[in-house]
Amino acid sequence: MSGNSDFQLVQESGWRSGFGNLFRAEMVSWWRTRKWWVQSLVYISVIDFFLLLMISISRSDLTSTISASELLGLFTFFGGLFPSVGVSIMMQGAIVGEKQSGTAAWILSKPVSRVSFIISKLLGNALGVAVTVILLPGIVAFLIITIGVGTRIQIPSFIAGLGIMYLSILFWMSLTLMLGAFYNSRGPVIGIPIALIFGAQLILGLVNWISPKILEFLPYALVVPLDQGAVGSIAQNVILGQPLQLWTPIPSSILMIIVFIALAIWRFGREEF
């Protein structure tokens, strides 16, 4: 390179090659565009408006009042499961969208490792999702429940509960990422996670009929109450400070996230452009 003696050269090597620049670009696309506040507004509107609606209905109906526990159950269910649909739609563009548009081939013609391409997409979006889908709607929900119902919620417990909800969303994110690495069309990449999310009740019933033991290793219990609501979701119980009747979905979800990411890296490394 004849004219580059005036520059400080990038020193990244191996799998980290190109990571810094790619991650920075992801951050720019999240925080220096309208994406962050649009996402935040959408999720705050959907999740927290629902809580306000429930409180409002409860106040107008003198025969029954809604408890903080019930509100938290609704919050962890809607806040943990349904944003996963939006996150899956967003994540499918991260890999399969870039493969289809040709930008992935362009990026990989630069000194960029395929591992850093995958990791930067995952980390960049995971950070964006943590703030816009979990943290901000969570803060608003905390205020609504404490002010609206007058119940004191322990902040550390609430943060831990948000962590469980985030784990659930990370599961769907990493699943979509892996599918994006395996498939070249958007159909299965978006269709499989959405079918698994919307079909949660059906799948839970089916799995329960085959072997209830399997339920203990699926990520659903992180945010979905089991046994027809008799057993609250893990996130709900964590926030309420109640003992966990089921904890195995936490390590099994973490393990599956790791496996999905590893498979995504492996498959993307073999991709031909």
Binding site: M1, S2, G3, N4, D6, F7, Q8, L9, V10, Q11, S13, G14, S17, G18, G20, N21, R24, A25, S29, T33, S101, G102, T103, A105, W106, L108, S109, K110, P111, V112, S113, E272, F273
Partner: protein, 322 residues
């Protein structure tokens, strides 16, 4: 014997098969340093496949190669630090502006200083005539503007090797001229390896050419070597008048190999292939002009263009000249 150290690209038996389709058959290619190397072939010849193999975007089925002495499969990252690449259909992030795209590209190579990177971005924008559109989102760009941006991003890192896949595609004649000027300017600092269908451009700027057909290398050499190796020397003569007696007379000359004739109304056009150029130069015109019944309207030695050679090689099958 050419020294491989002097070659920026050196492939040996490079092959690629997709299921049952052979895209590239045992390519042996040598691209000398600081050359402008034209890589030609009809659609589906394997040109883009070769480029993707060189860039590590796809893996060879057999064979291999080196670039700057580094293995194209194992050392892709090292190689790509020294390369600028323009894809056939350049695609960028639509939400970015041209300036952001060039800054983003530059930062894969340089981490600072910021002022120098900004200056380099300005230079490349200026070089491709996008300085007035630098802050417009790419989604508003026309095909030609994307192509210009593609050329800009390919050279923002001062590459030692510029790989351009159809660089003049989507450009108007002025844009085409600018691209060729850029390539000629870069010759001093870099090697340019490019694919194109525009044979006039190749003949104008290239030092060396390789022609690929159906995945096979059919010829490789300098432009002069390729043109010299065309169908031999021939003279073109056009005239009016009786032709049979003259044809018989000329055809009997020992250094005349063949006469191809086309006739339109009373006007004849002959292409006379000869084995002895000097003899033909000194005698042929006099012999024809001496015929009293004919009027010569045109007489010249036929010169071959790259297009003639290209068509001859593509239609004539493999004929490798190293």
């Amino acid at each position: 014997m050419e020294n491989p150290q002097e070659h920026v690209i050196h492939t040996q038996g490079l092959s690629k098969t997709y299921k049952d389709i052979t895209a590239l058959k045992s390519l042996d290619l040598m691209v000398p340093k600081n050359s402008i190397f034209g890589f030609l072939g009809p659609n589906g010849a394997g040109k883009t496949t070769t480029i993707k193999l060189l860039l590590g975007l796809t893996r060879p089925t057999r064979g291999g190669g080196t670039m700057f002495g580094h293995d194209i499969v194992e050392e892709g990252l090292v190689i790509r630090r020294r390369i600028g690449y323009l894809p056939q259909d350049p695609r960028f992030y639509e939400h970015m502006t041209a300036r952001q795209t060039l800054d983003f590209t530059a930062r894969f190579f340089f981490k600072g200083p910021d002022a120098k990177i900004a200056q380099r971005v300005e230079e490349t924008l200026d070089l491709v005539g996008l300085e007035n559109k630098a802050d417009r989102p790419i989604k508003t760009f026309s095909g030609g503007e994307r192509q210009r941006l593609g050329i800009a991003q390919a050279q923002v890192n001062y590459p030692d090797l510029l790989i351009l896949d159809e660089p003049a595609a989507s450009l108007d004649p002025l844009g085409r001229r600018d691209v060729l000027d850029v390539m000629e300017r870069l010759r001093k600092y870099a090697t340019v390896f490019y694919c194109t269908h525009i044979l006039d451009d190749v003949q104008r700027v290239s030092d060396r050419v390789a022609i690929l057909n159906q995945g096979e290398l059919v010829s490789q050499g300098t432009i002069e070597e390729l043109l010299a190796g065309a169908e031999g020397v021939a003279f073109l003569v056009k005239f009016r008048g009786a032709s049979e007696a003259l044809r018989s007379k000329i055809g009997k000359l020992p250094w005349v190999e063949d006469i191809q004739q086309t006739t339109k109304a009373n006007s004849h056009s002959w292409t006379i292939s000869v084995s002895e150029v000097q003899q033909a130069e000194s005698e042929l015109f006099r012999l024809i002009a001496a015929e009293p019944d004919i009027i010569i309207t045109e007489y010249r030695q036929r010169t071959y263009e790259l297009e003639d050679v290209f068509l001859q090689l593509i239609e004539g099958g493999p004929h490798v000249r190293q």
